[in-house]
């Protein structure tokens, strides 16, 4: 049994975010982190590994420096890392990204008792689309928003969160599950794991390695294979220095409630 975990390196948007004059993100000036939800997916995989002895393979699409992130996941006791990297893959939207990652998973080889884990969404795009789209490309059933996972034989029972409650869903392997932070608390790297991380199997899959997969076609990957285009990006107007509302009576409160409503805060 294998567990394949898809992870993404993202800019750390928790602190100050740098924006270029043209309205794009100044990624170079920002620290990168492993996408937080993806660490929950990694943890889910590692817990399942401890139960079942499965092999955990972590996959990421990104530039070569993403190796550092993958090594950190190996230091958390994943068994193997695969970086999908190539100029041809640049500019991919979620559709094209899922084509490429699905091809990479095909290359790794998906068997009947395997499970694919993804984080629910990445903090840079916040789309939550790549997981379900990989599942579609691989023809796998998907369960998103997983807050609890139990595996017995080839059946997984998953608590799938809704805004107003949850569903309990049964699904068989192979399947794809997207994980939310309520699922678990990601472990730290261990000292022993760190000192083994650079001797574990690490593979880079480029365009040539994947090009024989029918999913990989110039019309379905990269910028030209992306159904969506960015028309424009921009920063919202700067936050004002703050506004003291006049008075402290009913009219003042109604004005504030009006502002809150207009700004979709309520």
């Amino acid at each position: 049994m294998k567990i394949i975990v898809c992870v993404k390196q993202v800019p750390d948007t928790s602190g100050k975010v740098a924006v270029n004059p043209d309205g794009t993100l100044n990624r170079a000036s920002m620290a990168t982190i492993t996408n937080p939800d993806d660490l929950n997916a990694v943890e889910a995989a590692l817990q399942l590994k401890e139960e079942t002895g499965a092999q955990v393979i972590v996959v990421s699409m990104g530039p070569p420096p993403a190796e550092g992130m993958l090594r950190e996941i190996l230091a958390r006791s994943a068994d193997k890392a695969v970086l999908v990297s190539g100029r041809e893959f640049g500019g991919s939207d979620t559709y094209a990204t899922s084509q490429i990652l699905a091809a990479a998973i095909n290359k790794i080889g998906l068997e009947d008792d395997d499970v694919v884990f993804c984080g629910r969404q990445a903090i840079d795009g916040d789309t939550a689309q790549v997981g379900p789209q990989i599942a579609e490309k691989l023809g796998l059933p998907q369960v998103s928003y997983a807050a609890d996972i139990h595996k017995e034989g080839d059946t997984l029972t998953i608590k799938r969160m809704l805004e107003d409650g949850y569903m309990t869903i049964k699904v068989h392997t192979p399947c794809l599950i997207t994980c939310i932070k309520e699922l678990n608390t990601p472990r730290y790297m261990s000292v022993g794991g760190v000192f083994e991380a650079y001797s574990k199997p690490y593979e880079v899959l480029d365009y040539n390695a994947l090009k024989d997969d029918p999913l990989i076609d110039p019309s379905t990957i990269g910028l030209k294979g992306s159904p969506t285009n960015i028309l424009t990006s921009f920063t919202p107007p700067q936050k004002g220095a703050g506004m003291m509302l006049e008075g402290a009576d009913r009219a003042t409160c109604e004005k504030l409630a009006g502002i809150m409503a207009a700004k979709h805060m309520i």
């Binding site: 800019p11 948007t13 975010v17 924006v19 794009t24 993100l25 939207d93 979620t94 559709y95 899922s98 840079d124 916040d126 789309t127 939550a128 689309q129 379900p132 789209q133 579609e136 059933p141 998907q142 928003y145 809704l162 805004e163 107003d164 949850y166 569903m167 309990t168 869903i169 049964k170 068989h172 399947c175 159904p227 969506t228 960015i230 028309l231 424009t232 990006s233 921009f234 920063t235 919202p236 107007p237 936050k239 004002g240 703050g242 506004m243 003291m244 509302l245 008075g247 402290a248 009576d249 009913r250 003042t252 409160c253 504030l256 409630a257 809150m260 409503a261 979709h264 805060m265 309520i266």
Partner: protein, 379 residues
């Protein structure tokens, strides 16, 4: 010559569609919001607006959608659609879309919508924009929006008529402009889907305004029952149970709204905390506090925001009777919107507040609760 097939997308002339999500036979309110918004888009495109309703025994819900602007509703009623399943819903929706070819497809960005949308878009080979907060067709309206909601130079906005698509200029005037926040709201982006149809968007619930209900339109709403096939074999996931949870307690760090109390509640501690709880309840948030309130034993330590307490960055932080000492600010200054109520107009909290009211929290808070309730009801 265009290097993509623009004639293929012209076949998609079946109107603007809205996936109308219902759970256990109850329509999700975001469905009405999207029907209302979809009406505007359909008008701007000069086309019709349809709802798409899936479920079991749900035909009775369809006509009401007409009251918010739908010209018709495609109703797919089947026992296997009683509960939402990714595979069942995706199959039916994709089959119906392929048959009727809508130009635009909107889905509420609920946990279900964000599961369903990407799966359908991948199967249909089209583009999907997630969690949109603004949608436009008409270029004039879109540009007005950019003038007010962006820092782009005015001349750049006015010149924005085309996009480079596959190496050539593409006129975006009939494309759905889907605007959404990225990077935690630090950036906004307008996305188009120029080469494929339907252009799909999931839309953040609560953002679009629900139109006034019109009974006559509801009565006139056409019900269409498309043919589709669905068998047990199509379902690879099994819904064992659906549980509606009692309201879960949200922790301070994960909360979208935090209403905190400070030393200003000292003249009536219990009353002050109760007001904060009421305000938090109205806004769907939790109660926090300054260190002084914890140290005085008025509230338990897990409520404390600040240097020695928790660091929070909610969407709304309301400080009631908190002066804003540096150690408190350290824990909350990155909140998206800070509202402060304090008797002292020189309180440092006002230096970082987006909105300040100088007044007695015991008088202001009840009025604010009333005003917010009224504003919510009006939505």
């Amino acid at each position: 010559m265009s290097n993509y097939d623009s004639s293929a997308i012209q076949e998609f002339n079946g109107g603007v569609w809205v996936f109308c999500e219902q759970r256990q036979g109850a329509m999700m309110s975001t469905s009405y919001e999207l029907i209302s918004e979809g009406r505007r888009l359909a008008n701007e495109l000069g086309t019709k607006l349809y709802g798409l309703l899936l479920g079991s025994g749900i035909e009775g819900l369809a006509k009401e959608l007409g009251g918010y602007g739908a010209d018709g509703v495609y109703v797919c009623d089947h026992p296997l659609l009683a509960n939402y399943t990714t595979d069942g819903y995706t199959k039916v929706i994709c089959d119906v879309i392929r048959a009727y070819k809508p130009e635009v497809m909107l889905i509420g960005a609920t946990n279900i919508g964000r599961d369903l949308g990407p799966r359908c878009a991948a199967r249909l080979h089209t583009g999907l924009c997630a969690d949109c907060t603004h949608l436009d067709i008409d270029m004039g309206i879109y540009k007005d929006f950019l003038h007010s909601a962006s820092t782009l130079p005015a001349d750049k906005i006015d010149a924005l008529n085309t996009a480079m698509v596959m190496g050539e200029k593409h006129d975006v005037s009939r494309d759905l402009k889907m605007t959404r926040p990225a990077f935690g709201g630090h950036l906004m982006a307008s996305i188009i889907c120029p080469r494929f149809r339907p252009a799909m968007a999931t839309v953040r619930p609560g953002v679009m305004k629900k139109a006034a209900f019109d009974q006559a339109k509801a009565d006139a709403c056409e019900i269409i029952k498309p043919e589709f096939s669905l068998t047990q074999d199509d379902l690879e996931t099994e819904v064992v149970e659906v549980v509606k949870a009692a309201k879960k307690l949200v922790d301070l760090i994960g909360a979208d709204v935090v209403v905190s109390v400070g030393r200003g509640i000292s003249k009536d501690v219990e009353g002050g905390i109760k007001l904060a709880e009421e305000l938090a309840e109205v806004l769907g948030g939790v109660v926090g506090s300054s260190r002084a309130v914890v140290d005085s034993g008025w509230i338990s330590a897990d409520h404390q925001v600040g240097q020695t307490g928790k660091t929070v960055h909610p969407k709304i932080y309301i400080a009631l009777g908190i002066s804003g000492a540096i150690q408190h600010k350290a824990g909350m200054q990155d909140s998206e919107c800070i509202i402060a109520v304090n008797k002292n107009d020189t309180a440092p909290i006002f230096e970082i507040a987006d909105y300040g009211i100088c007044g007695d929290l015991f008088k202001v808070t009840p009025l604010l609760i009333e005003a917010i309730k009224a504003a919510k009801a009006a939505k």
